[in-house]
């Protein structure tokens, strides 16, 4: 039996966009079995998110609908779908890839601007307040080591992350 060569979707530019992204490479393997959907805790409690449907829409090329919608932001990253998928599709990573593309195109929930700013400014997603830091000796905890904000900023600059953040701020 011959090896089946993986083909990139040639009839849909959007699925090529996804397969070219880090994390999105396996999306075209999907044969819509629905195992991911019944594994998904979020899908069970709201019709607004269904991983099988997100993949189907993406494969059909519904770029605008997928990227501009709220759906892809409802995934709770539990990775249950990825564990159970019989085609070994990295579903949770595909959702991340879709979010990455959405971010680039400017579709993004507000709270993520805050996350991004926090990373750039403090090197942390949740800032350790001075209050918390000062309390450490009384609690018996050693002093907090400094956060590597400078090296982090260099990394963010290299990946274009800071530029992305700026773009959003300019446009919003």
């Amino acid at each position: 039996m011959e090896q089946v060569k993986e083909k990139k979707a040639t009839n849909s530019a959007f699925s090529s966009l996804v397969t070219d992204r880090l994390g999105g490479e396996t999306i075209t393997l999907c044969y819509q079995c629905g195992t991911c959907a019944s594994s998904c805790p979020v899908a069970k409690i709201t019709p607004d998110f269904n991983p099988r449907e997100v993949i189907k829409l993406s494969l059909l090329g519904a770029e605008e609908e997928v990227l501009s919608g709220d759906s892809i932001w409802l995934c709770c990253s539990c990775y249950n779908c990825q564990e159970r998928c019989p085609q070994k599709i990295e579903i949770a990573d595909v959702i991340y890839a879709l979010r990455n593309i959405a971010f680039e195109k400017g579709y993004i929930p507000n709270i993520y601007y805050q996350f991004a700013s926090a990373i750039i400014n403090d090197g942390r997603i949740v800032k350790v307040s001075k209050f918390a830091e000062n309390k450490r000796p009384t609690l018996g905890l050693p002093p907090l080591q400094p956060t590597g904000v400078e090296p982090l900023r260099k990394i963010l600059s290299a990946t274009g992350f800071s530029k992305m953040q700026k773009k959003k701020e300019e446009s919003s």
Binding site: R21, L22, G23, P41, V42, I45, T46, W73, L74, C76, S77, C78, Y79, N80, Q82, E83, E90, A92, D93, Y96, A97, R99, N100, F103, I108, P109, I111, Y112, F115, A116, I119, G123, R124, I125, V126, K127, V128, S129, A132, R136, L139, G140, L141, P142, L144, Q145, P146, T147, G148, V149, P151, L152, K154, I155, L156, S157, A158, T159, F161, M164
Partner: protein, 295 residues
């Protein structure tokens, strides 16, 4: 003496001194040295990965580089940090092209990822470096009669191909560790299902729905408390319990403790030293069971 570079992440130093205290004190007591390295950053959890996967890999790799430079393996307390760092470690070790790509970015910060060190979860260190036998011998206050609902959360176990902590369908590590303390690990419905922690802040309604399900299932199983591994799970089920009470008018009154806190109590560490006031849901029920039984 086994040493690890301790990776604290953000949430624990910011809000959960109880996790940090119990972890430090128990590990020290068990003979593990924890080294605090300078210049660590956020691990690059899901919110960062959602913005740009490559950036999150680079940030995680950067932190691993610090450990590599200090010639230490990394120990994480937060499961989210564990997933982020361990996944990055595994991905870069397996894919030369990806590693080269990330190293190009890291070179801007003067770092190079080698793939020479391991990232371990607190639980793995207990199993691998202490061992259940020695742990059992170190217990001075067995938690007998305590019924604990073990809750792994998601990111300690999945994606299992990269994290390799335990069998993703039938894990035993946490239950064994609970039983070693003398407590009883109770089974409950949908044990491995997500608590909704990551949805807090962006989709509170859904988050509370999932937290409520978890609380209901553990309650039905008659658990005295829930043992967590992750600060997000902790928040979802502790502070979240109050919010669930407010929204659904359901009072579960189940204390939520990190495994490290149960461990600290079992090892005889004074509860006053553990910042137990951090818990929003009072844990008196647990303390009573442990201490009043001992007289």
């Amino acid at each position: 003496m086994t040493s690890y570079a301790l990776f604290l992440g953000c949430t624990i130093p910011a809000r959960q001194p109880n996790y940090e205290l119990s972890a430090r004190k128990t590990l020290t007591k068990l003979g593990i040295e924890l080294v605090d390295l300078a210049n660590m950053t956020c691990c690059a959890p899901p919110p960062v990965q959602s913005i740009d996967f490559e950036t999150s890999l680079a940030i995680a790799a950067y932190n691993i580089c610090l450990a590599e430079e200090a010639d230490l393996n990394l120990l994480t307390l937060c499961s989210g940090c564990f997933e982020s760092l361990a996944m990055t470690n595994a991905m870069l070790k397996a894919d030369e092209e990806l590693k080269a790509k990330i190293n190009k970015i890291l070179s801007q910060a003067g770092k190079e990822f080698q793939g020479s060190k391991e990232v371990k979860h607190f639980l793995q260190v207990l199993i691998d470096d202490v061992g259940l036998e020695r742990l059992k011998q170190s217990v001075s206050k067995p938690l007998s009669s305590l019924k604990v609902a073990a809750f792994y959360g998601c990111h300690a176990l999945r994606p299992s191909e990269l994290l390799k902590l335990d069998d993703p369908e039938r894990p035993r590590i946490l239950e064994n560790l609970i039983e070693t303390l003398g407590a009883e690990s109770v089974e409950y419905r949908n044990k491995l299902k997500c608590c909704g922690g990551l949805l807090r802040g962006s989709s509170d309604e859904l988050a509370l729905e999932l937290a409520r399900e978890k609380l209901a299932n553990t309650s039905k199983a008659d658990a005295d408390c829930i043992a967590t591994l992750c600060p997000f799970c902790f928040v979802a089920l502790d502070i979240g319990q109050i919010q669930v009470r407010a929204k659904f008018n359901e009072n579960y009154d189940i204390p939520v403790l990190h495994y490290s806190e149960l461990l600290a109590l079992a090892l005889g560490i004074d509860p006053k030293e553990l910042a137990l006031q951090t818990h929003k849901i009072k844990i008196d029920r647990v303390l009573n069971k442990i201490f009043l039984q001992q007289s």
